[in-house]
Amino acid sequence: MVAAAPHWIRTPASGLRLGVQQNRLWRTWRVARTGIYIWAIYKFPSWTRRLLGRPTPSLRPTHERAAHAVLACALEMQGPIIKVCQGIATRSDVFPRAVVEILKQCHDAVPAREYSAVKAVVEQELGKPLDAVFSDFDTRPLASASLAQVHRARLHDGREVAVKVQYPGLEALVKTDLRSVRIACRVYEFFDPQPIALLPLLTEITDHTAMELDFRREADSADHVREIFSEGEGVIVPEVYREWSTGRVLTMELVEGIKITELEALEAAGLDPGQVVQDLMQIFVRMIFAAGFFQADPHPGNLMVRPSGDIIVIDYGLSKHLPRGFGMGLFELLFSMMTMNESAMVRAFTELGFRTEDGDTDVFLLIARRMMRRSDTGRFEGEFTEEMTGELFDAIRENPLVDVPTDFVLVGRVFSFLSGIAHTLGHEANVLEAMGART
């Protein structure tokens, strides 16, 4: 069973215990307390069992208890710890499914900050009173996330904008929290004889968080994606107004459309949901396979469709460059799975950066076979379904010798999101079909 977030945490602008939340000593203690609790719920029962000679039961209830403890800690602390949880929730290849499912709640359970705090950040960053820049600024946020919230506003020239504002004091909190978590991970790895490799994961989350904290980078990413589709291919990337943006405040063109999963609204606008899916797939396939740069967070809240059929993609906080040759390597992997060519699968996994400690490449075949068994025909037919991605991550987790490139995990997650959207609209998210090669 998945626990709901405590009621108070859903209340916008609660400002709950803000003073305490900002206290570094308290934050360090809160992380340590959670770490000790989790260590205890895993270790004490296993010692007891060993003493009494009892068999090992399913660990799922323990995983759930641990995940709830982490979730409670994150919701209480807010800020960067929420980001860490969101990072864990994307790594089904490392963490048990029960943990991932529970921590996914972090995506929706972020309360908004008080308007006064937001206003102070905007004024400090832009160096002007709020009303010198905006003729109108909605005090209620359009959305709130772990690091920032977004408000609707209007510039003095009449342009409607969305203003993304970073929460105050975040950089210091990030340092404190990530240091606390890193110490907790070190202690865990020291005591546990077969630890999950948490430190590389934490380094990855730290890198991603640092990227997301600099809004200028997000503006650059939006520009990059706009450039990829500069030939008028029906993709809308909101314009960033650089003169009203800084590292902590992002002022963007306000774009509106139909949420991509609202089937009835799409049909009412005269759109063909099948074609919408095809267009959406072509956008992401082009970014990932061809351009080597992609928006890595295409959940339905970040995708809208205009009645003209143009697709709006927002939120470039998590965007990534892929290494040279990654697109071709991924194409070769999918292709080899389509043609059941096992030697080509091994080559492709290796080219993508998968590694085993002892060089045994049979593990790659095990992973590929597990993915393909999720298909009706026993071969890859072009769609990365959620089940297939789940199977992939399970297989990777159960074969801990495998070193998995982060980019592959992010891309797998993107296609899993897209498959979910496609199925909501009654269609399939076929990657190979979306590549649109002229046969």
Binding site: D272, A290, G309, R324, G325, M435, T439
Partner: protein
């Protein structure tokens, strides 16, 4: 030893296994370290895969169609656009150390060949409810029963046996000694999202959409397969040139093997489309529509589009970063001048041969 069996009778029905069956080979084809399909007989003659029954079957279906007084579709070779850069231009570039456009072209060909495998996933319509006249014992009746699958395996390979994709890669790697692959290959192949969420425009909205899509895909593949003749001519000429190719004999022979494998694809596709053209179709509202109108109409619009747009697109893509590439040569301006002097303008013929027939005015 021949890999195909001459049948005394005109057998018209074949199982999936029949249509996928290959003969025995004395030697396998191994290209670039990859075991490929097909193989060699005792005299060293290359034999295509999966033609033991497929080839005689196609010939039998063609004879049966003609015996009923129908014609096989013919697409004029005049419609075939030339490959760009031309053989002379490609050789000139490579001789001057500018190999990227040729390596890119060969890689694109290999990827596109591989994509041929999607033909096996084409959604099959309920032919019995659409085609008015019987079609038992035709290529049309065997599309999902082995013809599409054999085609897919030929193009993309199957299991640990490479197909045309891997054979083109091997030809490229033999000639240019495993060159670095330009990282924009997939960008060049892919289109952007062009649908704008709108329902696809249909040429024949009165017939079943799945059937229309199948005819469209088969027509498109047939045109590409036919026009590939020019690609083979180009590939063999470029790769056989000892001035620029490290393994001229092996590399050009590889293209020759692919070329010989393609013949059954062209023949089964034009046979099945001719069989549709020789029959009538039931529309969604129960009326009757001539199959000829659908097949000829589809081919006409595709040929017009392909012969008018694609050569220009291909030329524009190759020339896009040419200025930068010329600078790799010792004397960029001389190379540019010579390259331009080898340009051979091409215009598509005014007619496709499948123009809609206007009603008699008299």
């Amino acid at each position: 030893m021949s890999t195909e069996v001459k049948l005394a009778d005109d057998r018209l029905d074949y199982s999936l296994e029949d249509l996928l069956a290959s003969g025995d080979f004395a030697e396998p084809l191994i290209a670039g370290g990859v075991r490929c399909h097909g193989g060699f007989d005792a005299d060293g003659v290359y034999g295509s895969p999966r033609v033991l029954h497929r080839k005689p079957a196609i010939q039998a279906w063609q004879r049966a169609l003609q015996a009923q007084g129908h014609e096989l579709l013919e697409i004029s070779s005049d419609l075939m656009p030339p490959q760009y850069p031309s053989v002379d231009q490609a050789v000139l570039l490579c001789r001057n150390g500018v190999r990227e456009p040729v390596v890119r072209a060969l890689t694109i060909i290999s990827v596109v060949e591989g994509f041929g495998a999607i033909i096996r996933d084409v959604k099959m319509p309920d032919l019995e409810s659409i085609v008015v006249e019987p079609f038992h014992g035709t290529a049309l009746a065997h599309l999902a029963g082995g013809l599409f699958e054999a085609h897919a395996r030929d193009e993309a390979g199957w299991g640990d046996e490479g197909g045309h994709k891997q054979m083109w890669e091997a030809a490229r790697d033999l000639a240019f000694e495993s060159p670095e692959i330009p990282d924009d290959v997939l960008m060049r192949i892919m289109g952007g999202p062009g649908g704008r969420g709108r329902p696809r425009k249909r040429g024949f909205p009165q017939i079943d959409e799945t059937f229309e899509r199948m005819v469209g895909l088969m027509s498109n593949v047939l045109i590409v397969e036919l026009f590939a003749e020019e690609v083979f001519r180009w590939g063999k000429a470029v790769l056989a040139n000892p001035e620029i190719s490290a393994e001229p004999e092996q590399a050009s022979a590889m293209v020759g093997y692919i070329e010989s494998d393609e013949n059954p694809h062209v023949e089964y596709l034009r046979t099945a489309l001719s069989e549709v053209a020789a029959r009538n179709l039931r529309t969604s509202d129960g009326a009757i529509l001539s199959g000829r109108e659908v097949v000829h109409g589809t081919l006409h619009s595709m040929l017009r589009q392909i012969t008018r747009q694609r050569p220009e697109e291909q030329r524009a893509q190759v020339r896009e970063n040419m200025a930068k590439l010329f600078t790799q040569a010792e004397n960029p301006s001389a190379l540019r001048e010579e390259f331009e002097s080898l340009e051979q303008p091409w215009s598509p013929p005014p007619h496709t041969g499948f123009e809609p027939q206007l009603p008699d005015s008299g």
